[in-house]
């Protein structure tokens, strides 16, 4: 029982990370048809800069953790918005070229991070509570899991409220469904493009800071390795669906944890198998509308 609780809560924590990366990917793809390969780099740069800030002001206070999360969100948002304005926008509606540009950005930025911070992981510390454990049903759960789950839930809730109750949210939801009809109502969807990039980048930035506490370090490849699972999550959840991304993130991460423990470290393989099964049974994903 205690093992199940540990695996479940750790799975939820990892799922929270997947969701923070996948939510932006899914919204960006849903609205713009762009597969953003540079999304992992948004996460990594945010994690590095947040770490740089936190360690300068003393990483062990709650205030510095809060500041780190804020820095992560702001850096992620700004870098993402810059990417959209400078690179993606020039290639308006040319989806393959847009993907290629993000591929180039991913390759170049990871190399740059390696040049700046080296290839070795940089170890991250935080408030003492995060490194301790809490007893749940006999399992000793690392406290950082709770932080991850709480923050991801807050982000999910904020995004849902934003999408539901604001004009921009309305434009984004409509654009995901039928972009050209939105322009035909006289709305400049390109502003929404920059906005989803910014939102997605901010979510990934928060994810980066949290990931550094989950794994205990920051490394240049951190974003890229999370990105692959985030891709799987977006396909399983259904491209363009935020709720689908949340559901699939939890699903994928929990299965991964259980397979790693009970099936001899086969978590990654099981996730890919799950993807294959979903594609065979339901190619548009759990909550996706289109094929």
């Amino acid at each position: 029982m205690s093992t199940v609780a540990l695996l479940l809560i750790t799975g939820l924590g990892l799922g929270a990370l997947y969701f923070l990366v996948a939510s932006g990917l899914s919204l960006i793809y849903g609205l713009m048809g762009v597969l953003n390969f540079a999304h992992g780099s948004f996460l990594t740069i945010s994690a590095f800069l947040a770490w740089e800030v936190a360690r300068r002001i003393g990483a062990d206070s709650w205030g510095s953790l809060g500041l780190a999360l804020l820095v992560g969100a702001v850096v992620g948002g700004i870098v993402a918005a810059g990417t959209e304005l400078l690179l993606i926008r020039r290639l308006y509606e040319r989806h393959i070229e847009q993907v290629l540009v993000t591929v180039g950005l991913a390759l170049a930025s990871v190399a740059l991070f390696q040049g700046i911070w080296g290839t070795d992981p940089q170890y991250v510390t935080g408030p003492a509570w995060l490194a301790q454990t809490t007893d749940v049903l006999g399992a000793r759960i690392p406290n950082n899991r709770f932080l991850l789950i709480a923050v991801a839930a807050a982000v999910l809730l904020t995004l849902l409220l934003f999408l539901r109750y604001t004009r921009f949210g309305l434009v984004i939801r409509a654009g995901v469904e039928n972009r050209s009809m939105v322009t035909a109502l006289g709305i400049d969807v390109r502003r929404a493009f920059t906005l989803v990039f910014t939102i997605g980048g901010a979510a990934a930035g928060i994810g980066g800071v949290l990931a550094s506490h989950y794994f205990g370090y920051v490394s240049p490849e951190m974003g890229a390795s999370l990105l692959i699972f985030a891709f799987i999550v977006t396909v399983i959840g259904g491209l363009g669906s935020l709720a689908g991304a949340a559901l699939a993130a939890v699903f994928v991460a929990v299965i991964q944890q259980f397979a790693n423990f009970y099936l001899g470290g086969t978590g990654d393989i099981m996730v890919v198998l799950l993807l294959a099964v979903v594609l065979l049974v339901r190619p548009r994903g759990l909550l996706g509308r289109r094929g």
């Binding site: 597969l35 540009v101 990871v110 190399a111 890229a224 094929g291």
Partner: protein, 366 residues
């Protein structure tokens, strides 16, 4: 270059030039050609031949990727998987079994055929960007399998080539030129195979489906099967190339199964010119040489003396290549071949011949 491309418009001349090019390349190990700044030494030395053979292998691999991306319009992020299957498959069979070389090669090719068919059939259930993500996931699973099963694959350290079953002329530094010739022969075979596919009925349907899938369906053809054929052909070719790579490098490391390796192929194809066989070849050669030179530059004293703002980016070859790639996508659609095509068009116009669409030129040079 201009003259070459202009004269390539005539099919007879094109054949002759291609044949001359192959003969010229084949003669390199027997000649003493020095190209400072591009080749590390005279053309007959093993180090240079090793680099040249590697560039031919990358050219061939880019060609196999061209079958997917250029010919069938399939954006795959998992092509490295098949290359890795070839290299690791042959490496493991040679190490673990008594199979003679040719039989081992046949077994690996047959295995690749099966894997490519199954994975291709599953991933082709989705199209476009989803296809890209799914192929990425499959390749990632392959990469994980290689790293997890270090007992068989050597894990992070990689797998070294076991030479008992190999003929002597492929073993040892002094025989590098034999491996170079093998790589050249492989490139020619791959080129002809890709050319044959593109000109076959399946190739034409694949090209039509790339432009307008709906119309292909309407006239009663099934894009699915031709796409699957493209995936399988590309996979089997990549596996064959992986096997030659294993022989040339005397081993293989898990990096060749990584998503970054596939992304490198994408960079090569775009650099050379999407949709063009010669573009893939030129891109493969240019990329390999550039990568080698940039790595040499990164380690040089000139760079070490620079201030950090310049030193850090300049000492990361992948940063420079990634940036170059972005610039090509933004400003040079059509890549190297596209630029060459535009230049020839200008040259051609002054000599009377005109051409309307730059894309024609890219297609011409195929």
């Amino acid at each position: 270059m201009n003259a070459v491309l202009v004269s390539m418009r005539r099919p007879g001349a094109r054949w002759l030039l291609s044949a001359l090019l192959v003969v010229g390349l084949a003669a390199l190990p027997l000649l003493n050609i020095v190209v400072p700044g591009v080749l590390p030494g005279p053309s007959y030395t093993p180090g240079t031949l090793q680099l040249l053979a590697l560039s031919l292998i990358f050219a061939a691999l880019a060609l196999s990727y061209h079958v997917l991306f250029g010919a069938a319009g399939l954006l795959s992020f998992g092509h490295a998987l098949y290359f890795a299957i070839g290299a690791y498959g042959l490496g493991i069979l040679l190490k673990r079994t008594e199979l003679p070389l040719l039989l081992a090669v046949a077994v690996v090719l047959a295995g690749t055929l099966v894997v490519a068919t199954v994975l291709g059939a599953i991933s082709l259930r989705v199209s476009g960007i989803s296809f890209a993500m799914v192929t990425l996931a499959f390749a990632q699973a392959g990469s994980v399998l290689i790293q997890r099963n270090s007992g068989i694959t050597g894990g992070e350290d990689g797998l070294s080539l076991s030479t008992q079953q190999l003929p002597d002329f492929f073993v040892g530094v002094l025989n590098t030129r034999n491996l170079y010739w093998l790589a050249l022969a492989l490139l020619v075979v791959v080129f002809l195979a890709v050319r044959w596919f593109e000109r076959s009925r399946a190739g034409h349907v694949a090209a039509a489906a790339r432009e307008n899938e709906l119309r292909v369906r309407v006239i009663g053809l099934r894009p699915f099967s031709v796409k699957l054929v493209a995936v399988v052909i590309a996979g089997v070719l990549a596996a064959a190339i992986g096997m030659v790579y294993l022989l040339l490098q005397s081993g293989v490391v898990p990096g060749v199964a990584s998503s970054n390796f596939t992304l490198t192929l994408l960079v090569i194809v775009v650099l050379g010119g999407v949709g063009s066989r010669w573009g893939a070849v030129i891109g493969g050669v240019v990329y390999t040489l550039l990568d080698q030179r940039l790595s040499a530059l990164a380690g040089s004293d000139a760079i070490a003396g620079l201030p950090a703002v310049l030193r850090v980016p300049l000492s990361e070859p992948l940063f420079l290549l990634g940036t170059l790639f972005i610039l090509v996508v933004l400003f040079l659609p059509g890549g190297i071949v596209g630029v060459a095509g535009r230049l020839t068009r200008r040259a051609g116009r002054t000599s009377g011949a005109t051409r309307e669409d730059p894309r024609d030129v890219i297609e011409e040079t195929e």
